[in-house]
Amino acid sequence: MAGTADSDRRVGWYRQMWTIRLFEEKVQELFMSGLIQGTTHLCQGQEAVSVGSISAMQPGDVQTNTYRGHGEALALGMTPETGFAELMGRSAGGSKGVGGSMHFIDTSLGNIGANAIVGAGLPIAVGAALSFKLQGKPHGALTFFGDGATNIGTFHEALNMAAVWKTPVVFIITNNLYGEYSPQMTTTATKDLARRADPFGMPGIIVDGQDVDVVHREVSAALERAKAGEGPSLLEMKTYRYRGHSRTDPAKYRAPGELEAWKLRDPIDILGAKLAEEGLLSADAQQQVRTEVQAAIDAAAERAAQSPVLTLEETRQYVYAD
């Protein structure tokens, strides 16, 4: 099943998923101490979607994501220190502290957008893909968005344009079953969102978003198809977010036992079990990874807090380029 990715890479994914998980946990903690303010939208539980998808990208490929984008940003290689600095509003942040939690962006890593407007990242990814096609570059684009975003106009507009122009783009729904506090079925007239690909004549594929190997395989295949000129795809990742929508949301709307049931299929555990069984990473070694990652996260947060804050006047240069 993991035939497309070599063993070292999968061990790397395991570490990356822990990095995302523990980064997000640390964010929660830093909130309590007041070092991070405003709001955050955390992605614990969805790590396999971020890591499995991003690992399908080749150099030159790009992606857009959302306000719940720490997972993708870290999977792309943004360091936890850069992320924490951004969250603390400091100049060592990827967006110089101007962006905040909802805008983890690093063009040098192919992260060309983290949008706070639901659905806005899709046309931008289509535009990047169209640009590659027009310029004869061999790259493609991924775009991440939620189940709730499949109800906004830009979703339908973007899928239509991508299909008409056959742009090398892959649409990835991170279906965590809720849009803010609303369960999918209370807002959305389609059960399996992958079916929303049908009217656009593109493949719509349901993917087990808890299994990083499966995610990687499906996104790789879709991206290859797209780059080969065979058109875009819509992938629906069935997954779950462990935390509420944002910092202030205790997620009381969940059915009893729902969270616990999903935790039985935790994406880190699933990969961990496979790595142990295949003799690639023992239970002890996995514990070691977790310990190391935790230490790195703690140290990164410490360092980030030392970074200076820009002056308002210094941010003026980011308004206009000319």
């Binding site: 110089k96 046309p123 535009g127 980011y318 206009y320």
Partner: protein, 339 residues
């Protein structure tokens, strides 16, 4: 859709003056910009068919194969696409068929194009030009007649140009396309057939207004179609011994206050001629800015605008009455000098 390959040959001739309609001037600016820079593409609804809806794009699809791209009817979507192209090495020009459709792309205009660079800490440049066909007088009715040049003027990160003549259309459009920030570029539908001299190759300065007629008694400040009407009003006034200075604002954001201030310092009187409601527009902003600077008025500033609390009707008789006329502009100037 074909693939971009080589740069088209660049026109190297010296700027020489030619007589062009405003429509041809827009076309010439598009052609020269596309010839100069192979990353420039033109996209929008029906842009490639029959010269586009207002025939501004004649000849471009043939000269630049694959670079004049028709889009589906989804303004917000294709403006987002243009943004995505602009941050990956291209310089798209987006055509909006009627200014009235801009709000359907409200998110792209307000939250994406002007903010994308800022919220990334300066990682992006967003060289998107949005060409907007605007203005009344065409009997297009309530939802197809807006000028809209003030709708988004309060938004940092966006620049806004408005073209009043063939030369202005040419040089402002060239400047907008070359600019590395998003620009809303307003064309006026009633001006397309007007003829005027154009120096091809000229690129306008960003953010400067232009004094088109010098005068001492009253300053008339206008955009788009109202510039022509203000110049005609100034002729009338001259015959009566009133010397009017006419300024074409050209850029609604940033507004060239120094040029306006210098003129009003001389005349002490101001008439705003605007094809929009006065509330919340550039005219109100100019008067407010001058007031805050303690401008010594000889008489209160005046605005000739769309009548308060009325909308633009279809009926040709009524539409003509609605839009600021030469006579209304002249009358306001007369009042301001106490005649």
């Amino acid at each position: 859709m074909s693939t971009l390959t080589e740069a088209a040959p660049v026109a190297t001739t010296e700027p020489e003056e030619v007589e062009l309609t405003y429509r041809e001037a827009v076309n010439a600016a598009l052609e020269d910009a596309m010839a100069e820079d192979p990353t420039v593409v033109l996209m929008g609804e029906d842009v490639n068919a029959d010269g586009g809806v207002f025939k501004t794009n004649i000849g471009l699809p043939e000269r630049f194969p694959g670079r004049v791209m028709p889009t589906p009817i989804c303004e917000n979507g294709f403006m987002g696409v243009a943004l995505g192209m602009s941050i990956t090495g291209m310089r798209p020009i987006v055509e909006i068929m009627f200014a009235d459709f801009l709000p359907t792309a409200g998110d792209a205009i307000v939250n994406q194009l002007p903010k994308y660079r800022y919220m990334s800490g300066g990682q992006f440049t967003v060289p998107v030009t949005v060409r907007v066909m605007s203005g009344g007088g065409g009997r297009f009715g309530t939802q197809h007649s807006a000028t809209a040049e003030s709708w988004y003027m309060a938004q940092p990160g966006m620049r806004i140009a408005a073209a009043s003549s063939s030369q202005a259309a040419y040089e402002l459009l060239r400047a907008s396309i070359r600019n590395n920030d998003p620009v809303l570029f307003f064309e006026h539908k009633a001006l397309y057939p007007r003829k005027g001299p154009v120096r091809r190759g000229t690129i306008a300065d960003v953010g400067t207004a232009k004094v088109l007629r010098e005068g001492n008694d009253v300053t008339i400040l206008a955009t788009l179609l109202m510039v022509e009407r203000s110049l005609q009003a100034a002729e009338q006034l001259a015959a009566e011994g009133i010397s009017a200075e006419v300024i074409d604002l050209r850029w609604v954001r940033p507004i060239d206050l120094p040029t306006i201030e210098a003129s009003v310092a001389k005349t002490g009187r101001l008439v705003i001629a605007e094809e929009q409601w006065h509330e919340g527009g550039w005219g109100a902003t100019v008067i407010s800015e001058l007031a805050m600077r303690g401008t010594p008025w000889k008489s209160a500033p005046r605005a000739v605008s769309l009548p308060h609390d009325l909308l633009i009707p279809y009926s040709p008789t009524l539409e003509d009455e609605m839009l600021p006329s030469v006579d209304r502009i002249a009358a306001a100037a007369r009042e301001s000098v106490g005649r």
